[in-house]
Symmetry: C2
Subunit: 322 residues, 2 copies
Amino acid sequence: LIAIVLDRQPSGTRRLRLGQDHADPQPPPGEVRIRTSLAGICNTDLEIVQGYAGFEGVLGHEFVGVVDLAEDPALLGQRVVGEINVPCGTCPTCCANRPTHCPDRTALGIRGRDGVLAEYFCLPARNLHLVPEGIPDRVAVFTEPLAAACEILEQVHVRPTDRVVVLGDGKLGLLVAQVLALTGCELTVLGHHAAKLAILARQGIPTQVGDDGLAASADVVVECTGRAEGFDLARRLVRPRGMLVLKSTCHDLVQTDLSRLVVDEIHVVGSRCGPFSAALRLLSQGLIDVTSLVEAEYALGDALLALEHAGRRGALKVLVRS
Amino acid sequence: LIAIVLDRQPSGTRRLRLGQDHADPQPPPGEVRIRTSLAGICNTDLEIVQGYAGFEGVLGHEFVGVVDLAEDPALLGQRVVGEINVPCGTCPTCCANRPTHCPDRTALGIRGRDGVLAEYFCLPARNLHLVPEGIPDRVAVFTEPLAAACEILEQVHVRPTDRVVVLGDGKLGLLVAQVLALTGCELTVLGHHAAKLAILARQGIPTQVGDDGLAASADVVVECTGRAEGFDLARRLVRPRGMLVLKSTCHDLVQTDLSRLVVDEIHVVGSRCGPFSAALRLLSQGLIDVTSLVEAEYALGDALLALEHAGRRGALKVLVRS
């Protein structure tokens, strides 16, 4: 079977390859086998290829697919998306209802578990969400990143009267901006690419290139630039006692004067995976334009080209069809 | 009149001096004149002497004193403490009920307003809090730093079942630890000085030298070390989705990998000035041992020696009596 595999050569160097003879995965108890229909490439995948998280195995975690082997016959043939973290379910962190932070978790294509850039993969049945009929595959495949955008509203109370700034017009920034706009807040999105900002402008969301004219008056700033400099810009735009949400996982070291956070009593919160159920509801209602974010679609056999494309500066969502 | 004045020599270099001929301050409308009884030296004072905040004028902001000139005759002769920030009262930040963050504020001995290391100084009447009779001067002088410790509980809901770690056994750490212990939380205080930690141990607060054996399991970590390294230690001790409170204003640049905040969805909040009314209630009830924190007391004429003493590594509270 075909799969995109990250492994190590005998010399120890990382190697990303198109495996032609990948074994047919067999689901352990509690898990199902899913035939991938469509997968999305995320910046995290690109970071993993660069060595982040020390992952080895099949890459990919954004998918929509069809259940192909399951203990529960009702699941067979169902079109599904799935949460990517597989917690142990019994440790103190899981018992405290923070399963996505389980220290022993595996994560699809990220940590100790083969991912979705393959013909088939396995996931626990409890991770699955059925995709409503009205949502096409090219929309459903955005459930995972859209859930991550919704996580901001799980963590922070964004009020309809808040001034909110989203930094970054990449894939994540465009989803985050659309979710936040639904609150009715006074939103401005800062980016570098007029064409990408136009996707938001079409929905009436105010955008601007660069930070000219913006004062330190935002109640909430969401950092989605994926760049170390984003933090200092975010800090400069947030008001005293405001909220700064860190959404992008930039592994570069940031050098910063934390006393500014103390004097201005700023809140900072990191934000990661989010609620699939809410993301599917927003997609069902047609409230989020995700198809404008699709830049290209490749066949699974060309997935190495897809990854190369996704890594180009400024690229939006690249999809891989199985 | 005598006052400790930070000014600039014609060459531009900072000079801290004992002024012998300081003018008698005259309160503008809305303000009172206060005769300083006892003043405390804070790390912020030492930072200001080093040039932080670009302040020039009379140093000092922690005080207890007696009103000596006032429009309202009921205030004359009253023993008072006072909030240090003087906001404009009319800007958007003030109208949003964040007066301590008013961009046009002055602050006693810190920003555009002569401080308390003098025989007399002025402050708006609305900044004053009467000191209850049962609280001696040597206790009342701790109201301002104790209020800053209380600010943590204004910002963060610390539950009786939370695991809390306080980093630092300096003046601020010892006050913060005592305030947090009142919540009933499972508290551990990490420090470097057995003698200082003993002040807490006498109250039954668990302390330890160094971080041996502590896992990343704290619900709340409060950083009071005053050192740049404190941030990374705090981050290592807090659990996923936990709360990291930054209390010390360290102006050294911190180099850190913010992606750990994102992956673990950590909350960070900076914390500064706090509620005087709550601090006075805690002092009235005798719930906070502040007298053990007094290291030395100097006369105002020896205040330069007092500042030198306060700057010694590991020094606790140095007081100055007028």
